[in-house]
């Protein structure tokens, strides 16, 4: 499929003229293209939804930086796999999980964690660049790991992505309450019998899995657009523990699938479309929040009067 699609996109771009617009958006042969990238669309949908969900905990646990750090090591793993000619998803998983475990074990305190990530991240990126420089294959593969790729999702890869996403989904569902408790206040959670160390380490592993699959679609540099932005947007407009995850999954879905569908016609990588959509959603949510805080109160209106009196 990969090889079949590449020339198609190239001709579409060439045939559409050289102007910027048609390079960004071109919907000639759209139906045909859509069939060819069916896998990518499914992958995007799954990633958007599960990424949006895990993002809620990423935000609550203040781990956006950790996501970035894990994704750079995931990139290094994928680049190594590319160089060695083994499964790239597997390489990316290994890199991710190593990073997740290191950060989870050494960085239980936020401050430690940030410094560990700050040290790990450039190391991972550097390793990745080294492996890519040594790699003699197609340059599209190289670039795809950093900035995402649309045409590379074949059937076995899709199955990987779906299985991993289901594992993450189940893991989060089962740990939901202890994980929320631990995210809010680890000391009290531990006093209440939550095995906080096991819970946070498991969360790091799930996060590692999720980052590794996201890297395949959106690229190591832009993983945050799927794992952080949707949740950050949702948290702007709601504080309900039910509505926030639902909105976040919806935003992730719209960003990922919308981005892929828009990118399809043009000859550009898919990531800018995804990141732009998720950023736009975030902006809209901020606007809604700003308008609302002027008018909304969560208490009976009498109360402020009573206190002031």
């Amino acid at each position: 499929m990969t090889t079949a699609l590449a020339p198609l996109i190239l001709t579409a771009a060439a045939g559409g003229g050289d102007d910027l617009w048609s390079r960004m958006f071109s919907f000639a042969n759209y139906g045909e293209l859509l069939q060819l990238v069916q896998n990518s669309v499914i992958a995007g949908a799954v990633l958007g939804i599960v990424g949006g969900l895990i993002g809620v905990f990423v935000m609550q646990r203040d781990m956006a930086f950790a996501v970035h750090g894990i994704s750079e090591l995931s990139f290094a793993g994928a680049a190594a796999a590319l160089l060695l000619g083994v499964n790239v998803v597997a390489g990316s998983l290994v890199g991710s999980l190593i990073a997740a475990v290191i950060i989870g074990v050494l960085g239980s305190k936020a401050r430690d964690r940030n410094s560990i990530i700050g040290v790990l991240m450039p190391f991972g990126l550097g390793l990745g660049i080294l492996f890519l420089a040594l790699y003699q294959g197609r340059t599209a593969n190289k670039f795809g790991l950093l900035t995402g790729q649309i045409v590379s999702v074949d059937d076995p890869q899709l199955i990987w992505l779906i299985v991993i996403s289901i594992v993450v989904l189940l893991g989060l569902g089962i740990m939901w309450r202890p994980l929320s408790f631990d995210s809010l206040d680890a000391d009290v959670a531990s006093a209440r019998g939550v095995p906080t160390r096991a819970v946070s380490l498991t969360f790091m592993l799930l996060l590692g899995l999720m980052v590794a699959v996201s890297v395949q679609i959106i690229g190591a540099l832009l993983v945050l657009a799927l794992l952080v932005t949707p949740a950050a947007a949702a948290m702007r407009v709601s504080a309900s523990p039910i509505l926030v995850p639902i909105l976040s999954m919806l935003f992730g879905f719209v960003s990922a699938v919308g981005g892929i569908l828009l990118a399809l016609g043009g000859s550009l990588p898919i990531s800018p479309y995804i990141t732009t959509i998720s950023f736009a959603i975030y902006l809209v949510c901020r606007l809604i929040e700003a308008r609302r805080t002027k008018t909304r109160s969560f208490r009976p209106s009498g109360e402020t009067v009573a206190v002031a009196a």
């Binding site: 929320s180 009290v188 531990s190 006093a191 209440r192 019998g193 939550v194 504080a239 208490r299």
Partner: protein, 285 residues
């Protein structure tokens, strides 16, 4: 692991019959070469209010962590309900130091209290019968009904702290541990929160161990005081401990205790930093 000889703690009568809920025998806690407290024997009985006082770094929070089973004693033993303490014992309610919950946290007041009811439970977060009513009841009992649906991040420090009391009461605890729960609250909120805790003690007989660096907000409730300082401690009623001679002896430097209008003021406390050198940084001592 033998109890220190000659240290029977419950020598004096507190008017609280029954076996102690919490008891320490010859307990010592140290880190590296430094001892926070040693030979500490103490009984806390039903309905008792024990205030734990002391300068920064004297080991107050560490004492609570040992009771919570999160920190091993260096020597001695510590029993809760007649058995050695264990980690994650849900019969102990814990109210941590007041720290603000960040705005934007996807949780409403009622969700914070609900974590006390079901936050330890694994499995899909499906509601169970009776849980909602229980949460409403708890919100009511800490006077939080009118902001039950407000996002926790938008609440004031005092309101958040009331919710933490509700959360701690959710498990119907046999012992309440409070670590500086009044910190950074204004006087009104200090009174409100400490009265909530005291109300539980009087209605259910739940003993309270209350760490604070200002005893005044709880002076009317305190039965006994444990004063930690410089690796040593004094224990007794407020009148026995909060005296110039006792504290001077404890701090080993002249300290004056004044009482005025029912408040207690301690003057001349040494700079605590000089008294608590860290072993890791010898130059600091």
């Amino acid at each position: 692991m033998t109890a220190a000889p000659g240290a029977p703690a419950a020598e004096h009568e507190h008017g609280h019959p029954g076996a102690p809920v919490l008891s320490l025998r010859g307990a010592r806690l140290g880190f590296g070469g430094r001892t926070l407290w040693d030979d500490l024997s103490l009984d806390v009985c039903r309905g008792e209010f024990l205030a734990v006082l002391g300068p920064n770094g004297s080991g107050k929070s560490s004492l609570l962590r040992t009771i919570l089973g999160q920190q091993e004693l260096t020597a001695g033993e510590i029993n809760f309900g007649g058995e050695p303490v264990r980690r994650g014992d849900r019969r102990i309610g814990y109210i941590p130091q007041q720290k603000m919950i960040p705005a934007g946290t996807p949780m409403r007041a009622r969700d914070l209290v609900a974590l006390g009811v079901n936050g330890h439970r694994f499995g899909l977060p499906l509601p169970r019968r009776g849980e909602r009513e229980r949460v409403d009841e708890l919100l009511e009992s800490v006077g939080a009904t009118h902001f039950a649906n407000a996002p926790v991040g938008t609440l004031s420090g005092g309101e958040q702290q009331r919710l933490r009391v509700g959360q701690a009461l959710a498990g119907d605890p046999d012992l309440l541990l409070c670590d500086e729960p009044l910190l950074s609250l204004d006087l009104n909120h200090q009174r409100e929160v400490s009265e909530l805790i005291d109300r539980r003690r009087r209605s259910h007989g739940t003993p309270v161990v209350f760490v604070t660096h200002d005893v005044n907000p709880v002076l009317g409730m305190v039965d006994r005081i444990l004063y930690l300082a410089g690796g040593r401690f004094r224990e007794g009623t407020p009148d026995e401990v909060l005296r110039s001679d006792v504290l001077s002896d404890l701090y080993q430097t002249p300290v004056e205790v004044f009482r005025s209008h029912g408040r207690i003021v301690v003057m001349g406390l040494p700079d605590t930093h000089d008294h608590h050198p860290h072993n890791e940084t010898p130059e600091a001592s």
